[in-house]
């Protein structure tokens, strides 16, 4: 689809051609949106703030997965396991060594990235389903490790308690305050992910996804770029895991499981693979579906009283699975593609059928 631009808006310089935010009204809208996000605790309800908090944390993990799966085409079942790694590293640094959260977070991200590198190594020899299996192995082995290894340090199956972040005397102990950390990191990770995707790095990723042999012949170092994709995805997962752990104030081996990995992959597909917008739309949609499941559950209990107790736990995977299957059949390119079509139709109106 050609890029549709309003008449009179000319790309007079390369920088302007490449710009993401092109016009003054877009800047105004962006600043207003960011201010509205930061001001959320002032006017929104407590439950909405904590929902946004949750969406933000999931979003960071999905964005990392998007770099790996969406752009580089390496399917990974291990994202939730890497979140576990990030959560544990930052929890241990904060509670055992007494570090500040804001120092522990980047260290946790880097440490998770290195673990991601290790589990990315098989990607050099194998691909497709076999790679899926080796990332599944990560998803099985890492939680097992936290459950059984070094019980005095990692706390065994009970896990560890995680400290509350603190900065200049401000204690981030409730969603209304924690959300400032989340939003800042979400903005940062969105900007980084968007720019990685359209730089030399992202183009190499896309070349590998489309045909890795051809990419190698063109001079792209598969070894370096595939590992870099795994590293980046794991860094994002580390940040998300650390954020989630400090938000929940507790982490154990079951906090992020295989189901969460499936959930993150599905979220990415619902939003749209290989787009910057996809993770955002997907995460919001799927989190709202989950919310709908928790709202719809009690209604269902009134109709079928025999199901009480497990309705919400059953509805959540049911809603998610049905949504995922419907998207795969009806719109495999996800919501981001729909949004693009809608924008094109809007610009061409009243001749929308021309596209």
């Amino acid at each position: 689809m050609a890029v549709l631009r309003p008449a009179g808006e000319l790309d007079e310089s390369y920088a302007y051609d490449m710009a993401t935010i092109r016009q003054r009204w877009q800047w105004v809208l962006l600043v207003a949106f960011v201010l509205a996000l930061y001001g959320l605790p002032l006017y929104a309800s407590q439950s909405f703030v904590s929902l946004v908090n949750r969406i933000g944390i999931t979003l960071i993990a999905v964005q990392g997965l998007n770099l790996l799966v969406g752009y580089t085409g390496q399917i990974s079942f291990g994202q939730a396991a890497f979140m576990t790694v990030g959560g544990y590293i930052s929890a241990l640094l904060v509670s055992t060594l007494g570090w500040s959260f804001f120092l522990a977070l980047p260290v946790a991200a880097l440490g998770t990235g290195i673990v991601g590198l290790i589990f990315g190594l098989p990607s050099l020899r194998i691909k497709g389903l076999y790679l899926v299996m080796s990332t599944l192995a990560a998803q099985i082995i890492i939680p097992w490790f936290t459950r059984h290894a070094f019980p005095s340090l990692l706390g065994g199956p009970q896990g560890v308690n995680v400290g509350v972040p603190e900065l200049f005397g401000i204690v981030f102990n409730q969603p209304g305050r924690y959300i400032y950390i989340t939003i800042t990191l979400v903005i940062l990770s969105t900007v980084v992910a968007h720019n990685v995707a359209r730089s030399r790095l992202g183009r190499a990723f896309v070349a590998i996804r489309d045909n890795d042999l051809a990419a190698e012949i063109m001079g792209i170092n598969l070894f370096r770029y595939k590992l870099f994709a795994f590293f980046l995805a794991a860094v994002y997962a580390g940040v998300a895991g650390s954020l989630a752990a400090h938000n929940l104030r507790h982490i154990n081996s079951a906090t992020f499981g295989l189901d969460d990995s499936i959930f993150l992959l599905g979220t990415l597909v619902v939003g749209g693979l290989g787009t910057s917008l996809g993770p955002i739309l997907g995460t919001i949609t799927v989190e709202y579906l989950t919310e709908a499941a928790t709202r719809f559950g009690p209604l269902l209990v009134q109709i079928f009283p025999s199901m009480a107790g497990n309705v919400v736990h059953g509805l959540k995977p049911l809603f998610f699975g049905v949504a995922l299957m419907l998207f795969l059949i009806l719109e495999p390119r996800g919501l981001a593609h729909r949004w693009r079509l809608f924008k094109a139709a809007w610009r061409l109106r009243p001749f929308s059928h021309w596209q």
Binding site: I75, Y130, W144, A149, G266, V269, G314, L318, M325
Partner: protein, 306 residues
């Protein structure tokens, strides 16, 4: 190593590999005909066992009738899944197909939870519980021969699994349907051009896989009880078939034996950490296998064309 317990654990490990090989067989069946790796196999297993339980305990039907009805139902269910979920995915990239079976996995898990609930259930005994077989081994420890105890349900489910693998293998090797399935797995378009109805073949392989899953589910439920965690057991079957080869029927049972034996050996260890590692042993074996010979012991090596 705990040498006295070693024979016991080794034999138990081998016997426990029977149901796992059955699960793997279901995966191989689908993968062989339609090159789809079914991540929802565990849920098929769970639903098969739950439906059998429902027929026999809630409705009070005799066990053989309950099993028969459950097998019939799972045949229909297999056809249905293929028609609704997988047929629209024909020709889609690997990621979409994997995610479709994952979506199926979530839907079926949710349905099982909604309809049957998370309670632990007592599954009717297929094989008598008491009076286990005892075999005296020639190994001597502390002046006595080591006696290996074989629980009857383990032996029974192992025998059923072996029969299942042999029957399915014979079906593939000696019948027209089996020939059609093998031809379809070789090349979809070629198979279609000689007049095979590959849609029917796909449907049939899903139905068969669903039946195999139900049998596996009944075997597991009768030996270790029935609750929703039954579907997770399939995670041990993934390494089994990757070890044996994704498209090899004997590979499923030999891979099952290797994994079962290594799990058994690990659980005989004296070191706590190693003994606890039974759940990751299959995956460690898998990782080693992926690095040495990704296509598995008996799998066909696919050479990629540029």
């Amino acid at each position: 190593m705990n040498w006295q317990l070693l024979p016991q654990f080794a034999v138990t490990g081998i016997l426990a590999s029977g149901p796992i090989a059955l699960m793997g067989l279901g995966l191989v069946l689908i993968n062989k005909s339609s090159s789809i790796f079914n991540f929802a196999q565990g849920q098929l297993l769970l639903l098969g066992a739950l439906v059998t339980w429902w027929f026999s305990v809630e409705l009070g039907l005799p066990l053989w009738l309950a099993i028969l009805l459950a097998l019939l139902l799972s045949t229909l269910f297999g056809f249905l899944i293929e028609r609704i979920a997988l047929r629209p995915m024909t020709g889609q990239p690997l990621l979409s197909i994997i995610l479709m079976t994952l979506g199926l996995n979530q839907v079926l898990q949710g349905l099982a939870l909604l309809i049957f609930g998370p309670a632990q259930r007592n599954f009717p005994q297929l094989f008598p519980a008491g009076n286990p077989y005892k075999i005296t081994t020639p190994f001597v420890s502390n002046g006595n021969n080591i006696v290996v105890i074989l629980k009857r349900d383990l032996v029974g489910s192992f025998v059923v699994a072996v029969i299942g693998v042999v029957v399915i293998g014979a079906l593939f090797q000696f019948t027209r349907i089996g020939l059609a399935m093998r031809a379809t797995s070789e090349d979809h378009e070629l198979a279609q051009s000689i007049g095979l109805r590959i849609r029917r073949v796909f449907g049939l392989s899903w139905a068969l896989a669903s039946v195999v899953a139900t049998i596996g589910g009944i075997m597991l439920a009768t030996s270790s009880g029935l609750d929703l965690s039954l579907s997770i057991v399939v995670l041990t079957a993934f390494p089994v078939i990757l070890l044996g080869g994704l498209d090899s029927i004997p590979g499923a049972i030999i891979g099952g034996l290797i994994i079962g034996l290594s799990v058994g050996l690990v659980s005989a260890s004296k070191v706590q950490l190693i003994r606890n590692s039974t759940e990751i042993v299959p995956y460690v074996v898998l990782l080693i296998m992926l690095l040495i010979r990704p296509e598995g012991l008996f799998g066909q090596e696919r050479i990629e064309r540029i």
